[in-house]
Amino acid sequence: MKPSPDKQEMVMRSPDRVMRLARLGAFHQSRLSFMRILLRRLRREKWSFSQPVWEIDEKGVGTAVLCAHGPERTYSLVAFSHDLPDHQRSDRVIATAWDATFTLFDGTPDNDDIARLKGNVPLQEAGRVTATELSLSRANRSARLWSYVVDCLSKGHQPDPDTIGEVGYLMRTTAVYGSGKFGAADRESIAARPEFSAPFQVEMLNVYLIRTFVALLVEHMARSKGGAVATILDPAIRRMIGIGNSTGLGMAPFLVNHQSLLHAWINAREAALARVRTLEHSNKHSAETFTTLVARALENAESWQTTHPLYTGRLADLRDDLRRLKDHISTGALSEPHPWDKIVTWSETNLSTEGQEQLVSLVLEPHGDLIDDLADTMACEESEDFRIDGQVTLEGMIATIERHYDWALDIDHTEDPAHARFWYVSEAKLEPRLGERHEEPGGEREQPLAVSRDVALLYEALKTEPPSGLLATFLLMQPQHRHAARRVQTLQKLPYSEIRDNLIDADMTPIDMLRCKLSFFGATKFDPRSDRWVRICMYQHAPFPDELDRVGDDWIYPAALKT
């Protein structure tokens, strides 16, 4: 039974605890991650899939269309597959050629549509799509795995599961654009469709179909090479193949620029945790499921590989944490009253932040009936929180800042490390970047992402004015504070809408912002390549379209493959 909203709110973790970069950067995928929300819908609504066009030659070059048929509408991945020389393969945003390029088409494309798309989609940013296209994306083959898998299958062998597991993907997307980018359909135009009501469902469907295309393509190329000897992927091995992704700073400002959405995501996750914590007892099913998934999560953590110093230590901590958690539950922790609350409280003094956040995801797992409806609260109409109330007094604004931005006021932004960096948009790549203020030119063109500093400046300016003055008058005279004033009023309404750290500090780690967002996508196997660039895996172990009705929603924590 769901707790009352009041009780739920009482046990929700405070924004001051949750909204720290170190914690957000330790989030793991959960039941409320967007790719899991999508797959539950596809299964529940019995979506079917077809492949009306497959015009791919023996080199893997050509066009394919893969359709997903829902209860009311069909969506089609239009794929253009290329034969890219190795030296042209780059994950950089300025790359101009890829192994495969895609768009998700709204409906089923006819020949004219495909011809139009063929002239634009392979060009990516240099091309143009229209409102009938919902996304634009591209992917490159894994240099480590592609040829190996083609060779194995062409000879009639299955690839080695350990080798597959080490990489986790055959292709890696380098960009998945949606929401009106490069002419594609606006989010507003499709948000009312039930299948796209949760955030990023277009992008998640796009990537899911890319994964299907990639498996078909590798089998096609093996068949072309090996003829009758060739075989197809064993379904268990095929499920180990996800889609890789390489994500840089371009994604980082999203969480700052979409305050209402950030609140909606975090609030849903925290509300889910609170609901579980209010349960008085575990039952046989929830205790068994949790115990099994803790063991599998440990196996997952063991297979999660990274060599980056930012993550090697915390990954070791996570493995230790999961062993400790396993021991803890073996002592009967789940048989006590209020077991979930107690185990979360226990984690706060016994596990690292990485382990605590893994536990949050794990305790949600057995409780789909209790929490899955929260997926419906994760999208929002951002314009509803856009308007500034200019009729509040300056005294009132000062009090609001002191109450909600005490963490920002505690920072001395005049000291070098605290304003060492600035966010900007690169002229060459039109992408967000992070500069060193004292070493690079361009600080005067800074993006409005220095939230703590800007709110502190607003606060100082407010204090010099008569307290009874109105905010509207103040902002008319000092419009440079308008963006900060809007943030303050938004945070007052939406407590999880602000990252409570200094985003221009010398020690700030941008990949924490990437990890937070990617965890909501459902990404796994975070593998930083620097403090501002991370590789991940999506849909690894997820059911393929032909097995959606056979593989459970716990696919994200797979049992080890027995070979």
Binding site: T174, G183, R187, E427, A472, P479, R482
Partner: protein
Amino acid sequence: MVALSLSETGALATKATRGAGYSWGISQEAGFAAKWLTAKGCCGLTHLAALLSAVDRTGPSAHAPHLDGLRLTGAEHGTCGLTLGCLISDMPQLVLSDNSTDLQGIIEPIFLAAYLAQVVPMGKAMALGFSKSSLRIGASSLEFPRSLRPSSKPIDVELQIIPQLTVEDGPLCPERRLTVDPVILGRLEALAARTYVPESDVSRARGAGGAD
């Protein structure tokens, strides 16, 4: 002619306004207003280009309205319709306390419509009259004459609260794409480019993402 999505419209409007010297907060408002107008079939970017062209020489602050208590006065060389719209949004009683308000010398008053729609009293509509044009604004609708053209010149405006529109409020039409003249687009993109930072030896060496 180029057809932009609403998302592209909003993003370009924000960057171009910032490039023209407005604060980030007002620039975000420009993105909101340009999107809103475009979704109603009125090309927000074309009107924004006219507005930014008018304020480019003197700077935005020279075109901000003045407020003394509830007494609103315009700027000497024309009041920016966008800045005035923001003020009305912040403090709706400026135009809601009387049934009729005269506003003098407004540059691109169409921008007021995006904000009046946010504050229109329940059960009422608003009429915005200028230069022989008459616009009617509901909580989620905008009726405007197709003959309305962008202009950089300040014009006098009469604002009235009227009974609810007799026409049905139209829903937002977010899939609507309006074409933008490439010359106007180029002008806005040039302003937007003022917000970008050119590469430097340091930034090139540092790299930033992907496989940099």
